[in-house]
């Protein structure tokens, strides 16, 4: 056997004799193996998907990870508790506030420290603003994947303001390290809450623009409805979280179901709802449903921010914790609702200055697993739409 034939096992030529002089030849061309990524405009980072395609039809797909692996978890076992915080910024760089928050809550669970009320409220404001920013990127780049260039710039216009707000409060635009173990890095500057309030007012109008321009656009609906369907069972089997699982019609949000900070108080006050997809434009759990959930969540986040602004209290923003932190013996797992799903931090302490185990349950990583099952059978153009709808951040899948 020559090397040539070995490399194309799918090629087969079937010759069938039907009758005298009749000959039917069924020549199947081998499936095309396409390396989708690591450098491809629609992989949202450096991910590689090895795709087999029969013409325009995808017959198989296998995601390959690890191009951005930076040993984040191992670093967590080598640096002090406080020093690890900036590394959490880097895994889901679109939702750094939430990452900070997740790690801080996990360590605080071990410390058993009381967080000042003002710090908790500002934490929620930051986390929700960051969720809006993250969903803006998700929605904008999803439009880009579908081929709509302009909404991307509109969403980035609002995200720019969100980042300016964060810059005012902590000095950084992407990797904040603002939410610290025990509270916050510092208090909000004067006038910051007023500007957040103004942002909320403006954002609500702009949000309607996105809905009109893209979400209900007929071509957008035709492109995203009824493709990449994740059934309820499948969503549960794969352990999907966040907009992915709500996009499949399962009402599951950690902010309500496993409340942390004072989200349960906000929920009881009726300040926000949890959007769950109903399959309006096609089958339940298609790409359109997932993008709809994200768009609706933005407006719910605005409501949470408003509630926090209305109930803001004066006081300190950080608990009294020592500079060199020694965490009591024990282990803790805290899962929070990141924009992409459940971000869990599992930390184990032997009572020393350094964690002996730091593990992260990244939402993008878990949500990514479903791709291998939903990509086959779609067209190449749909494959891009499906990958975009999972809204992965490669920094987090690889960590």
């Amino acid at each position: 056997m020559t090397r040539e034939t070995q490399s194309t096992p799918a090629a087969s030529t079937r010759v069938q004799r039907l009758g005298a002089g009749e000959l039917s030849v069924d020549i199947r061309t081998p499936d095309l193996e396409v390396n989708f990524g690591p450098q491809h405009p629609a992989t949202h980072g450096v991910m590689r998907i090895l795709m087999r395609a029969d013409g325009e039809l995808v017959t198989g797909a296998q995601p390959h990870l690890g191009y951005l692996h930076r040993c984040a978890e191992k670093i967590g076992e080598n640096v002090e508790w406080l020093q690890y915080l900036p590394y959490t910024d880097r895994y889901d760089y679109l939702a750094s506030m939430n990452n900070n928050l997740g790690y801080s809550l996990a360590v605080e669970a071990l410390l058993g420290v009381e967080i000042p009320r003002r710090a908790t409220l500002i934490r929620i404001i930051c986390a929700e603003l960051n969720r809006i920013g993250s969903h803006l990127v998700a929605f904008g780049t999803y439009g880009l994947d579908i081929g709509a260039f302009t909404p991307f710039l509109y969403t980035f216009r609002e995200r720019e303001w969100m980042m300016a707000l964060f810059e005012k409060i902590c000095g950084a635009r992407l990797t904040y390290s603002y939410i610290r173990i025990g509270g916050l890095f510092n208090d909000a500057p004067p006038g910051w809450f007023e500007e957040v309030s103004r942002f909320c007012d403006v954002f609500e109008q702009k949000w309607q623009e996105y809905v009109d321009l893209l979400l209900v656009n007929q071509i957008y609906v035709k492109r995203t409805a009824n493709i990449g369907i994740i059934s309820r069972e499948m969503a549960l089997d794969f352990g999907l979280t966040g907009p992915m699982v709500r996009g499949s019609g399962i009402d599951w949000d950690l902010r309500r179901d496993m409340p942390y900070m004072c989200y349960d108080e906000i929920w009881r006050a009726g300040a926000f709802k949890i959007p769950v997809a109903r399959g309006e434009m096609g089958a339940l759990g298609d790409c359109w449903d997932r993008s709809w959930v994200r768009v609706m969540e933005m407006i719910e986040s605005i409501k949470i921010v408003r509630w926090c602004l209305d109930n803001m209290v004066e006081g300190p923003v950080i608990a009294d914790i020592p500079k060199t932190l020694k965490v009591p013996l024990g282990e803790a797992y805290v899962g929070i609702e990141n924009p992409r799903g459940e971000l869990g931090h599992y930390v184990v302490s032997d009572g020393g200055k350094v964690s002996i185990r730091t593990r992260v349950r990244g939402p993008s990583f878990c949500n990514l697993a479903v791709l291998e099952d939903i990509l086959p059978g779609s067209l190449v153009g749909d494959a891009i739409a499906i990958i975009g709808s999972t809204d992965i951040v490669v920094g987090e899948t690889d960590r």
Binding site: G147, R157, K222, L379, G381
Partner: protein, 379 residues
């Protein structure tokens, strides 16, 4: 260019041999077409960047010249200086030939474009056929480019291009048949002249109720033919990296780019001439009344003379057509920066199942309407 050549012929024509005259004709024609296509492409690129910028709440190019009007020249210089790369496994000959073929085809198509009612490169009686045939030839170049690049993404791009153009050339041609049938000519100049009544507003679009749907169908098919969004599947940036152009760089890449904008202009020209009155507008009408229309008149001595007094009229007519063309180009840009891209099966479905039957219906309806009009009112 007939005007220019007529001038030469009138002044020194008798002293020159025939072959020299033909050589001059050919060289001037090629030079003017090349210059015009380059100018159109450069202006369109600038326009596209400005239009997209303003749609997206930004300015677009602002630094090179006033509002960045020299940006295209700066880009052209950059493209000329870039490394011309040919992939190792590419088919070198086809790879180098493809951009040239694409550009040559679209330049050829411009031969049928009339500059003004009296000035043309070639007064071709089958002008519509010529433009459609030449612009189909660009597809061969695109498929060639995709195949020769020897990359999977480029093959995807070129196959999509082939499938798409085959699907959309039919409704394009048929929807264009509606005004052609009403006009009774394939000649762009003559078709334009037929719309001169009503003070230059007797556009074909207003003379027959089936014209408007035909125009919409024509416009959609033209978008697909020129690979513009929402039908930009052959390039599909987010899907196929850059489609058939993925492996091209530098000046060869810019040939594809020029072709795209030239094709947009040409398709808009077809639309403008056959639906939107061509040269005719109230402005052209009154310019014609005021300055006279004939460029070549028979003088007192009985010999042909050039009538320079009519030149302003021809300028107005030329600018009218160019403005209409750029209006079409602007519409295409507007759509590109607004709409998402459709999927390949939706493109095919739309072309074969909807546009083709609808355009045939338009032809039938328009034919019946014209026949009825003829039977009732005579002529």
């Amino acid at each position: 260019m007939n005007f220019f050549l007529e001038g030469i012929y009138q002044t020194v024509g008798e002293h020159l041999p025939m072959w020299l005259m033909m050589l001059i004709a050919a060289v001037t024609g090629i030079a003017v077409v090349l210059g015009m296509v380059s100018l159109i492409a450069m202006f369109s690129v600038w326009l596209e960047r400005k239009v997209s910028g303003h749609i997206q709440c930004r300015y677009g190019p602002m630094y090179v010249g006033w509002h960045g009007w020299l940006q295209s020249i700066a880009d052209g210089v950059k493209l000329l200086l870039k490394e011309d790369m040919i992939p190792r496994d590419a088919d070198r000959v086809l790879f180098m030939l493809a951009p040239g073929l694409v550009l040559a085809a679209i330049l050829g198509a411009f031969a049928a474009y009339p500059l003004s009612p009296g000035i043309w490169f070639g007064d071709i009686d089958l002008g519509v056929f010529m433009i459609i045939a030449f612009s189909s030839m660009t597809t061969i170049g695109v498929v060639m480019a995709g195949w020769a690049s020897n990359s999977k993404w480029t093959i995807y791009g070129s196959m999509r291009e082939a499938a798409q153009v085959v699907a959309y050339e039919i409704p394009l041609g048929i929807s264009l048949l509606v005004p052609v049938m009403v006009a009774g000519t394939f000649n762009l100049r003559e078709a334009s002249a037929l719309q001169a009544d009503w003070f230059g507003m007797k556009w074909f679009l207003f003379t027959n109720p089936f014209m408007l749907p035909a125009f919409v169908l024509f416009f959609i098919a033209a978008l697909a033919e020129t690979k513009r969004a929402p039908f930009d599947l052959p390039e599909a940036e987010s899907e196929l990296v850059a489609g058939f152009m993925t492996e091209y760089s530098g000046i060869r890449w810019s040939f594809f780019f020029m072709e795209e904008y030239a094709a947009m202009f040409l398709m808009s020209a077809l639309g403008a001439v056959f639906f939107l009155g061509g040269f005719e507008s109230p402005l052209t009408h009154f310019a014609g009344e005021f300055f006279g229309k004939e460029l070549v008149v028979v003088g007192a001595s009985g010999a042909k003379e050039l009538n320079f007094a009519a030149i302003p009229y021809h300028l107005v007519a030329a600018v009218t057509l160019i403005a209409k063309c750029f209006f079409g180009v602007f519409l295409m840009m507007w759509l590109r920066w607004t709409l998402p891209r459709v999927r390949i099966d939706q493109v095919m479905t739309m072309g074969y199942k909807y546009l083709t039957p609808l355009s045939l219906l338009c032809v039938l309806g328009a034919a019946l309407w014209e026949a009825g009009k003829h039977a009732l009112f005579g002529s």
